[in-house]
Symmetry: C2
Subunit: 393 residues, 2 copies
């Protein structure tokens, strides 16, 4: 007796590098040359042809080279049925990471983690389409969880340093987010002297109150001493959280900051493996009652690795609600719903057309609805669908 042939066969994987260019900068990066990889995985399933889509979050550039050199060839070389679910009918995307990471050494979690995460996202989209389920419900089911809610709490990230941003323009941007309904807005700091940043923060807090809170993000730019001085001032300014006060891997420095300030801390978007996340939880001195963990499933090998992060943190006493993933993308939102996270970041005006938020989308009650179609729903955004169509001629 031989096993039946799997019902799903991957027939093509395509990728393009798309610009997500903007004229803004944070404390580290000028985004005018930023790109992301957009990925399409096409499969035949019982006579139908379906395509799953993914894209590689933002801030880390397209991964065209790594995808073409190592990861797409490994995906296509996998034996028939390597990605099949138990029934043999659909796909289990939890099989993807192991296949893609064959013959990869441990450590060195950057770039390849983004390439693998983008591919895994496309397989989740494809598998949910085969199953005929919205992505967040499909993810929850694959992990044996209860049917998740169909809305996710979101906050608006903006407040970048743009070439001509005045205080009035910063206020206008904050006002725009508040008027759209966001209960929390985030702005960049650390790219100007502290007194200038504190004045910017005061303007933003003044503009947002009483409808919304303000979080600030230093993008890992400050020294420990600067971060402590800044954090003390931020406590007085009443900000909601102080994000990436020091280098994202400087767990010892973060612990020093954590012991010296009262403002809640947030970090993790630049940690790309479960082992890095374990180190953060173990050595970073963060308070599980107030701190926010921002790891991004697409930047860090996908949902399987992200679930490992959640489990490792849970073992150390962290509730899933302390996780609020970076990235503003469809997979982060689906994970936030499926795993009961505290919410997700979105970019109402940046990194367009990628992500779930648009410049005009209203946020009723502080949360965003998840797509009510099979898959992750990337095609529902017409401007994003235009990009996707370049991959499926």
């Amino acid at each position: 007796m031989t096993a039946p042939a799997p019902a799903t066969r991957i027939v093509a994987v395509d990728e393009i590098a798309a610009p997500v260019a903007s004229q803004m900068r944070n404390a580290y990066v000028d985004f005018s040359k930023m790109t992301c990889s957009v990925i399409a995985i096409t499969a035949e399933h019982r006579g139908r042809r379906l395509t799953g889509f993914g894209y590689t979050s933002n801030g880390r550039y397209a991964q065209s080279g790594l995808l073409r050199e190592r990861f797409i060839p490994r995906l296509l070389a996998a034996p028939p049925g390597a990605f099949a679910d138990e029934s043999g009918d659909g796909l289990d995307p939890r099989t993807v990471r192991g296949v893609l990471m064959q013959n990869e050494k441990p450590g060195g979690h950057g770039e390849r983690s983004v390439a693998v995460g983008g591919l895994e996202m496309a397989v989740w989209d494809l598998a949910a389409k085969i199953a005929g389920e919205p992505g967040h419900r499909f993810i929850a089911r694959r992990y044996g969880r209860a049917v998740p809610p169909d809305r996710v709490t979101v906050y608006a990230a903006g407040g970048y340093y743009e070439p001509t941003t005045s205080f009035a323009e910063l206020r206008a941007e904050i006002r725009r987010f508040v008027d759209l309904g966001y209960p929390l807005v985030k702005m960049k700091i650390g790219g100007a002297p502290l007194d200038v940043d504190l004045a910017r923060i005061a303007a933003a807090v003044d503009e947002a109150r009483p409808d919304a809170a303000v979080a600030v993000d230093a993008n890992g730019r400050l020294t420990v001493e600067e971060a402590i001085a800044c954090g003390r001032a931020l406590g007085a300014a009443g900000v909601h959280w102080f994000e990436e006060p020091v280098d994202p891997l400087d767990y010892g420095g973060l612990a020093e900051v954590a012991s010296a300030v009262t403002v809640p801390l947030a970090t993790g978007e630049n940690l790309f493996s479960a082992q890095d996340a374990r180190n953060l939880v173990r050595f970073g001195g963060l308070d599980p009652a107030t701190a926010t963990l921002q790891m991004d499933p697409v930047l860090s090998y996908g949902v399987v690795e992200y679930r490992e992060m959640l489990d490792a943190a849970a073992a150390a006493g962290w509730a899933a609600t302390r996780f609020v993933p970076h990235g503003g993308h469809h997979l982060a939102l689906a994970c936030a719903a499926a795993f009961g996270l505290g919410g997700a970041e979105v970019y109402p005006t940046k990194f367009q057309p990628f992500g779930v938020a648009t410049p005009t989308m209203r946020i009723d009650g502080g949360s965003m609805p998840l797509p009510d179609v099979p898959g992750l729903g990337l095609e529902l955004r017409p401007d994003l669908d235009t990009v996707l169509r370049r991959l499926t001629p």
Copy 2:
């Protein structure tokens, strides 16, 4: 008055992916598809045309995509004089990392660290050729250090799991290294059950004694519990060091192992940034009197980042002689001499034709001479020079 035009102008950067394929494996990786990037940077200097060469160590694949997408364009887009030394005549390779890392976010140290390290290596080779100095002396001078020795202590890495390796073949390989003059030989463990590995180690130690010591490398494959059990057995077996007992980023696990075993520990080849190295020193529980740090300058952004690692470790009480870099390549050997390290790894029979060791090179007195020509001396190996000529038509 305008500044004089710099005397050196980079005119071309070329790269090829070359196979370093072997039929071997360690506990993690089958090397049959391994590649590395070979890089040539050509410059005009006062009417002469010179080319500097680099290659991307081993174990982490070629970085063709990242080099073409981000790092070579940034190198070529740098303004005239961006890499000039104080005199304006030559190049100061210490300027390279900052130019290449523009608009890169912190954290995520993998892949790009290899691409940048390979490019920086080629600039060191080029700059030393312009200066008319052997690479190790040029590096020492750029860092204000005394004229270094012209020999480096080396050890032979081998003992991989190959498809048909018998105990007799393992003994023959160890014998070959001992007969070539290596005072220390290293073999892989962790890819077989502990009792099999212990029998392999006993055979190797027996074969090597009394002329050479034996170190063992688990390539980060073991759990903490397995590593402790293994380490206790290794102490009794008299091995020289126990390398990568656990995941390279699992500092907490490493500290548990360190507190439970007496065999000297070694690790670091999969840490690619100074911040990761700081974490290892701070949280890894290693004994600065006995442990060996194996970070690799090419895998980790180049000499500038590697020097930061040395300085960070020195501030924590580590002597430079505790550093013995991974990689077996020309830049690791030059750094070992220039910075007074404890030695360097070489591969007498693997990863050919890359590296400084060949299958027949004799190691007199346990050390290897550094090339006595301007630059890092890659062209002195005829089989490597054949590869380099593909880049300089």
